[in-house]
């Protein structure tokens, strides 16, 4: 019975973090988030008290000083004493508010002595994470919206984390001061995760700093908070805060995978491998603009496209460098040579294109190097 109860209590509490109809800010899982929450509540209550007093006077007047009750208007119209009082007293209240606000702000700005640096780059409409460490293979990856189009367009039931789920989350260790270096590749974005109390604009050409120290292992979700174009509402942030050991293991595995990918780039892959990986990449990176069947949409059709059916170097150039003045982005920095080879192979053979061309990672490397 006891277990049932505590289980039920847990089941009730666990979803509270992102509860349905949450009405207030969350103190989150960091000390600074708790400070900000405290500040928010303090100022809100001061406002509530002032509001009750001021509106209390007003509503009493509305009740008691009605013409319909025969109340006679008095004709007073100034009083230096009260006027000075209600200028000075609010000023003192403001000073009382400014003190804790200042100390919290200074803490937010204390970016020194971070134990881990992560470079976050905003792209239309995804985030790139790069772990900046002194040694070892660099680890970097893109984090895309994982919610399928069918859920967005209501042909499939929406999942619990609708629009707040990504294909590859940011992983950070708990009890560690993590510094985020935030920038953008195209327009201004803003990286926000309410529960770890970090929001900072990602500005192309400039690098902003922010930091967090997460106290609790868990999964925290956020969104882009600066209008960044059509799909601004579709670039969520997902952060997994894990223990130090789990983080080290995860980072090592990512490094291993990165090494394997660069090994793979030197090999010749089978058509099936390329097509399978190509489909994955297409569905992640191309589908929003070019359609599930390559029929086009915001972008041109892939099916029967003269670029796709034409010479390989031009096809690669469009994919890798984008087309300026259009929505076609440059994927050269977002996909490695294996991935580029796979998606080119896929595009050239899927959707009835059937060119029979097989593009190997080595071909891509070769063409890139001229």
């Amino acid at each position: 019975m006891g277990r049932l109860f505590s289980g039920a209590a847990l089941a009730c509490l666990a979803p509270m973090a992102a509860a349905q109809n949450q009405v207030n800010m969350s103190p989150g899982v960091t000390d600074i988030g708790a400070d900000i929450f405290g500040l928010h509540m303090l100022i809100m209550w001061i406002c509530v008290v002032i509001g009750v007093a001021v509106f209390g006077v007003m509503f009493y007047s509305i009740y008691a000083h009605r013409k319909s009750k025969g109340h006679q208007a008095s004709q007073f119209h100034e009083s230096t004493k009260v006027e000075v009082a209600w200028t000075v007293v609010p000023f003192l209240i403001l000073i009382a508010m400014a003190v804790p606000a200042t100390s919290t702000l200074l803490e937010v700005y204390d970016n020194d002595e971070a134990e881990l640096d992560i470079l976050i780059t905003g792209y239309q409409w995804k985030w790139k994470y790069e772990y900046l460490t002194d040694s070892g293979e660099p680890v970097s990856f893109f984090s895309n919206l994982a919610t399928p189009q069918e859920e967005i367009y209501n042909t499939q039931e929406k999942g619990e984390n609708y629009l707040l789920e990504v294909d590859e989350p940011l992983v950070i260790p708990v009890d560690t001061k993590v510094r985020f270096l935030i920038t953008a590749n195209d327009v201004i974005h803003s990286w926000w995760v309410p529960e770890i109390a970090v929001k900072r604009d990602a500005i192309p050409g400039f690098i902003n700093e922010a930091w967090t120290r997460v106290n609790t292992v868990g999964l925290y979700r956020g969104q882009c908070t600066e209008l960044c174009g059509a799909y601004h509402g579709f670039m969520p942030v997902e952060v997994h805060a894990v223990s130090r050991e789990d983080f080290d293991a995860w980072l090592a595995a990512k490094r291993g995978a990165a090494v394997a990918q660069s090994e793979l780039a030197k090999q010749t892959l089978s058509v099936d491998e390329l097509m399978a990986q190509g489909k994955d990449i297409y569905d992640r990176s191309c589908i929003a603009c070019h359609g599930a069947q390559g029929e086009g949409g915001i972008g041109n059709a892939i099916a029967g496209s003269p670029v796709v059916m034409g010479a390989l170097p031009e096809h690669l150039a469009v994919v890798a460098k984008g087309v300026s003045g259009t929505a076609m982005q440059a994927f050269g920095a977002q996909l490695n040579d294996v991935e580029l080879a796979a998606v080119l192979t896929y595009q050239r053979n899927a959707f009835g294109n059937n060119t029979g061309d097989v593009v190997q990672p080595g071909d891509v490397t070769g063409m890139k190097n001229g």
Partner: protein, 526 residues
């Protein structure tokens, strides 16, 4: 009106060529109401799409066009011109002048507005669609990444700016030169004072906006890099310039509203305005502070901490003069003889809801807390409390208050009260829950949202439809009044009303104060 010996011309030329402040005021008011309905229609599209999670009615790109045009049209097309219309009608009558100082320019500053908005609205039908970068049009989304229609948007903004500057110069010239003998500055009605200060703000900041859009134009078409780091520029520079205009702009919108409320509350309290002089000083202080707080819109751009602290302290200071105003209004009501006709109801609605918006404004001024509020629905709720319940409610109060003087007919009081209560309830159902979703983490300007925000968004949409519908009742009431309202001929219309505009005949003749009046008991003071 036509029965006066210097009556207006007839037909369309009356309106095209008029230099009469009342005609021009009327045109401004009708134009702004038309824009209010158009901007409101866009808001209905937004709320309809947000009624449920998932994309239902429009595509994300079109949704952004709706939010952008809603903001632009409400700020530049509805609220600003409505107060200019009010100024045209009332300032000459309040200071005992026969007309505005520069009547031909007055005609011109109105008539360039409709083509500007026609051009702005026509971008909806252009290739690539209308501007979709928000009413704040941050670069580089509005430059390198914008649809080709951005050029038309820039041109439209330039014309609006020219119109505003001409209107402001006219108001300043009128107030400074055309006051009746005895109408000293400190005897002017507060509406005239707030508009005089607003006009100075406009003249100061509209050129800054013009500079911002010109730099955009250069970046888009002439290869400069003002707002692109790749060419040595800075996207944040745009935000500094924009908000150096944008923050005074929000006071440009709200100060005349303060003026209106300061005229109406004493009338229905049958008691002089409390603290006239402190009201004037408070208005001037707010105007001054509005120039040194702009970066509180930009707490998250990564300013140095010293800058952050300066803008936080300066912003918090605004609470002092704003508080003085609220206390003065409430003390004006205190021990008055209150009655609650529609204009008074809208003013009390203003007082309560604007103050609520002021409280959330104070919360937003706290920089560290703003990191959690910034660009969420909490901000959306905040500025709709000050813009809609502040500016629009007071504008509505003004129309009910002066309409009988303008057309010599009384509006339907029950319908007016119904309009107030439906607006008040609809407004709060729309915007109060937005505080909650904002604090819970819903960003603004998104066409679709996570499931935990669903219930409050549905509530918001229902409230918006109620609030929107109530405006049609208002339109009907105003037209019914003009066409067939009960005639009033009493000069004062309202027993508590004070000021020169209530000394002329009702309806106000086409020409008033051709001879300067003797300034009687000065409005607002002893």
């Amino acid at each position: 009106m036509g029965d006066h010996h210097h009556g207006p011309a007839t037909g369309v030329t009356r309106w095209l060529f008029t230099t009469n402040h009342k005609d021009i005021g009327t045109m401004y008011l009708w134009f702004s109401f038309a824009m209010f309905l158009l901007g409101g229609f866009f808001a209905m599209v937004i709320r309809a799409e947000l009624f449920q999670p998932g994309m239902q009615l429009v595509e994300p790109a079109f949704f952004n066009q709706m939010t952008t045009l809603h903001g632009l049209i409400m700020v530049f097309g509805a609220i600003m011109p409505s107060f200019v219309g009010l100024a045209n009608w009332l300032i000459p009558m309040m200071i005992g002048a026969p007309d505005m100082a520069l009547p031909r320019m007055n005609n011109w500053s109105f008539w360039i507005l409709p083509p500007a908005f026609l051009m702005l609205a026509s971008t909806l039908f252009m290739e690539g669609g209308a501007p979709a970068f928000g009413w704040t049009f941050y670069a580089p989304l509005s430059t390198t990444y914008a649809a080709p229609s951005v050029t038309f948007f820039i041109f439209a903004i330039h014309i609006l700016g020219v119109s505003s500057i001409m209107g402001s110069i006219n108001i300043i010239a009128t107030v400074m030169n055309m006051r009746a003998p005895g109408m000293t500055y400190m005897k002017m009605p507060l509406f005239v004072w707030t508009w005089l200060i607003t006009a100075f703000l406009l003249v100061a900041v509209m050129p800054v906006l013009a500079g911002a859009v010109t730099m955009m134009l250069m970046d888009v078409h002439f290869g400069t890099s003002f707002f692109s780091a790749a060419g040595g520029g800075d996207p944040v520079l745009f935000q500094h310039i924009f908000w150096f205009f944008g923050h005074p702009e929000v006071y440009i919108i709200i100060l005349p509203a303060f003026g209106v409320v300061s005229q109406i509350i004493p009338a229905f309290s049958r008691k002089p305005l409390f603290g006239y002089a402190s009201m004037v000083y408070a208005t001037a202080s707010i105007a001054f502070l509005s120039f040194i707080v702009w970066a509180h819109h930009m707490y998250t751009v990564g300013m140095p901490v010293a800058g952050e602290l300066f803008f936080m302290y300066a912003t918090m200071l605004i609470a002092v003069p704003t508080g003085v105003k609220v206390f003065n209004w409430i003390t004006t009501m205190w021990r008055g003889a209150l009655s609650f006709e529609t204009p008074m109801l809208f003013c009390i609605g203003f007082l309560v809801l604007f103050t609520l918006g002021g409280f959330t404004g104070l919360m937003l001024s706290i920089a560290p807390a703003d990191f959690q509020y910034h660009d969420t629905y909490f901000v959306v709720a905040h500025f709709h409390y000050v813009m809609v319940a502040g500016a629009v409610f007071s504008m509505t109060a003004a129309v009910y208050f002066w309409l009988p003087k303008w057309c010599g007919r009384m509006y339907n009081e029950s319908m007016g009260k119904a309009h107030f209560w439906i607006s008040f309830i609809g407004f709060n159902i729309t915007f109060f829950p937005q505080h909650f979703v904002g604090l819970a983490g819903m960003p603004r300007r998104i066409p679709d949202y996570a499931l935990q925000f669903a219930d409050f968004n549905m509530m918001s949409s229902i409230g918006a439809f109620i609030y929107g519908a109530s405006q049609l009742l208002f339109l009907y009431n105003v037209i019914a009044t003009i066409v067939a309202g009960k005639r009033v001929s009493d000069e004062k219309v309202w027993d508590g009303a004070e000021g020169l505009e209530w000394t002329v005949a009702t309806p106000a003749p086409y020409h008033t104060f051709e001879e300067p009046p003797l300034v009687p008991k000065p409005a607002g003071t002893i």
